[in-house]
Symmetry: C2
């Protein structure tokens, strides 16, 4: 911590220069001055020096070269009507600080190139821009990707086909290793392009985990090759699905941007749609007279062997389809009413001496689920109820804290028990209200609880969540962004960046930057404008 | 009222048949049964019988023919990926109620065709669909337009290139003559396509007044040919403007859809952007020591002759550019602080024996403004403060009630004073919150105040407002619609349609209908789907 505070002091003394870059999320350390170099896109390359082949980096370089030198609003919308950015021509030689042209940036990656981002991914990098030699230097390819994003934000347009970059050095690494964004594709179906746009926005804000809440009560769009009936009967429509190819495309798109994909298959609650394609999976509910209620089912039935045979096969497939070390197992909001009504479960409770405590039945289920997933060599994330209900979970388990009330106490308790902990509670972006709200997301800090340093070190990061009850592709991007940018900076930048008033001009710049690249981000700060408002 | 109640009873007895049409807003009276006709788009025409030429109707027929027979989601998005609506082929002869094919609808307009919708526009129409002769019958062309919208909603897709329509009769007319939607293009600039999309959505919901809040404190995008500096210096950017051609296009687009365009030029407050291009228009503010505050200005300076010369010329141009009988003069939220600080205004207050009552100074200004507008042969709408401040306004003046607290009392008071009154207070759609909110817009009734029948008759309608502080083209359509549909039905349909639970399936159908036509309307009812969710 001492080092971080020291660095933030250094940063503050260079504030003017920092604002010149307006990078979001803010890097750990920036040194710069008023000198700058010009860039002529036609005479500029990015080269790489990596130990062996590195297709992820090659594709990233191509992608960033394509976005660094935008001269108009044409990407924003096909309706773009020929209104261009300012077309004046600057005579750089007459501008104070001009120090020549930059024609090349070298990216040096020291470790062997990885292809899939992972729990141990190293995202640190340094950038040095100077007259003779400009370089992005990183240990791993993931740092190089983050550096490219930063470089693209450092370059600004000066005039017609003219660009410039300030001379300086950046030393950067994330504060937290887990910087997630959760998307719900069950409450409303989201077409692939909406997911791609989300991943584009995540990349621009250095998020590194896409938590895909694929299925829920309302629909089951995930196509399982082992149990095809799940989506055939559980999807909203036969074409509102994610085929194996779709999932692979999403994973590839994400991984290429240094983003891990963690799927969530939430059980035993939130599974109404599962029951349509998998008979006898859900618990039959009974009425007060002890008769089965026709077509009324509760959470997954935890007392049948067939349940665990199904779970084993399904999660086996899930583990094959998603290479990440972690799977999100859900475990939230299990309603006990139906379980309580079912005589077979009542009998099971007696036999196992669970008394009236249905949390014990839930734990019984989760414990068996966890055993299955562990046997698949996967680790898991769970919503906080699994911890609250005292299920026996392994130390490396990540507990996802989501309940708004008392989250600092919950963080403390989870960390005290020695588990990794992930904060979502203050970042439920689906909750909307009138007016500017990114300040509060910005001010929420996952380590802001009464804990020891050891406990705080167990906070691996946080996750912005966009639940889908009132969101589909019509409003997903505009409602999520730029609000999620606030979470991105909290999770990436040093703790000392906590003043939203200082952050505001950079936040605005980031919104406009996203707009120019074609993301329909909403205005959340009140009356203002971005350059391409007329072309959205 | 008695008749209306009677009709609603008739309607309720035919509920099943009504739901078959799912028309939004609901017509006054529907008679139908289970019989239906098939339609083959390739063998179907709409003919018209009008006294003389009627280009508005010709264009409307072309427009509706183009939207009545949509077979896929291709209009929703250029990313549409070849996933089609159900392609089964129905054998109509085997379906109960099939009564043959409809090949033609005749539109009969009895009055001479009008070209510009106006305060007296007649929007009543009847539709008769039967085996031998299907007709839309209306007095004026505006009724024919409303009938075409209804007809387009009556036709449903049955299979591949197969359509059907139930046999029946509709007798319809609006409950209120003024059904407005207000859009703010000052807080954020809105490109023309966003305005066109708004007008498309309005047409689908039978709104008939586009209240264009063109300018405000933040920007002045309206290009005045008399005072070009207003937009040159007052617009956010030189290209974030509405040229005379733009305004004409918007007017034409609206008028063609039976929508009046009422511009608002709000004075004397909300005019900061006016001051940039018109020196000496705004009031110079003074500090506590009696010194002018550099570059700090208040509302329009009401004591200078030059002010009224400017106002006269500007509104002369406005009257020329907007043909509607009404201009919205604003008059809301005038801050007196700056006026109070200015010694010249203080002197003027003394001379005119206004005491300390700056509302009298405001009235002085508004009275002169009103005289100017009246001399231009225009009527006016004002925000409620003008009435509250006891300005001497003419009887036909429309008072726009917008303050949320105590609006029923305000409605009563305005009507009691004999003025026309327009409700916006409960329909500020810019105020958003989490969850379903259209119910409350649906349940708000402009005549729901303690008044005599005569007073209630002075309620000419209402207006949904979308203020632009947090809205630009990125979220305008998705945030406004389908929420504004609730207001549309309140203003068009008989008072008896007040149960939102009954309305819900139709509301959902209307949202999906708008989506298919390419409007990115949001899901506001919770988890659900429309057919083109995957193509948004």
């Amino acid at each position: 911590m001492a080092i971080k505070i020291y660095l933030s002091v250094v940063v503050l003394t260079l504030l003017v220069a920092i604002d010149a870059y307006k990078i979001w999320p803010h890097p750990k350390e920036i040194k710069t001055n008023e000198s700058f170099l010009s860039i002529d896109p036609k005479n500029f390359t990015i080269k790489s020096k990596v130990n062996g082949d590195c297709p992820v980096l090659d594709r990233a370089i191509k992608r960033y070269l394509d976005r660094m030198f935008i001269v108009d609003c044409s990407r924003v919308n096909e309706h773009f009507r020929g209104r261009y950015f300012s077309n004046k021509t600057e005579n750089f030689n007459k501008i104070h600080g001009y120090d020549g042209q930059m024609t090349m940036v070298l990216i040096q990656v020291h470790d062997k190139c990885e292809t899939i981002p992972n729990t141990d991914m190293n995202e640190a990098y340094t950038i040095k821009i100077d007259k003779d030699h400009s370089i992005i230097d990183s240990k791993s390819v993931w740092g190089a990707l983050r550096g490219l994003e930063t470089l693209s934000q450092m370059i600004t347009r000066a005039g017609k086909n003219q660009f410039r970059i300030n001379i300086g050095q950046i030393n950067d690494e994330p504060r937290f290793t887990f910087r997630g964004f959760m998307l719900d594709s069950s409450r409303h179906y989201l077409p692939l392009h909406a997911i791609y746009e989300t991943l584009d926005a995540m990349e621009m804000n250095k998020f590194n985990v896409f938590h895909w809440h694929l299925v829920d009560d309302q629909s089951f769009p995930f196509v399982s090759t082992t149990f095809p009936a799940l989506s055939e009967k559980g999807a909203y429509r036969s074409n509102f699905i994610y085929t194996p190819e779709d999932v692979q495309k999403v994973s590839h798109y994400a991984n290429d941007r240094g983003i891990r994909v963690i799927p969530e298959f939430d059980t035993p609650g939130h599974t109404q749609s599962w029951g349509k394609g998998q008979p006898n999976l859900l618990t039959q509910c009974y009425d007060a007279k002890g008769k089965p209620k026709p077509n009324v089912y509760g959470p997954i039935n935890p007392v049948l062997n067939t349940t665990y045979e199904f779970i084993q096969k399904l999660f086996h497939e899930i583990a094959q389809r998603f290479p990440d070390q972690y799977i999100h197992l859900g475990g939230d909001e299990v309603e006990f009413g139906c379980w309580k009504s079912n005589p077979i479960l009542q009998e099971f409770m007696k036999t196992n001496h669970f008394g009236d405590d249905y949390a014990k039945l839930e734990s019984y289920y989760i414990t068996k689920l966890i055993d299955i997933v562990q046997n698949l060599n996967r680790s898991y994330i769970v919503w906080q109820e699994v911890f609250d209900n005292k299920v026996n979970i392994r130390p490396e388990t990540v507990v996802n804290v989501w309940k708004g009330n008392g989250w600092p106490t919950e963080m403390k308790n989870v960390a005290k028990a020695g588990h990794h902990v992930l904060l979502s509670a203050c970042w439920y972006l689906n909750y909307i209200g009138y007016g500017t709200d990114w300040y509060k997301y910005y001010q929420c800090d996952p380590q802001n609880f009464n804990g020891t340093q050891q406990e705080k070190n167990l906070v691996i990061g946080g996750e912005a969540c966009m639940w889908g009850e009132f969101v589909d592709a019509s409003n997903l991007i505009s409602r999520t962004w730029p609000r999620a940018c606030a979470v991105a900076e909290r999770l990436w930048s040093p703790e000392s960046f906590k003043d939203y008033k200082n952050a505001k001009p950079r936040f605005h710049e980031q919104r406009c930057r996203m707009q120019v690249l074609g993301l329909k981000v909403e205005p959340i700060e009140g009356p203002d404008f971005c350059y391409c408002d007329d072309a959205i």
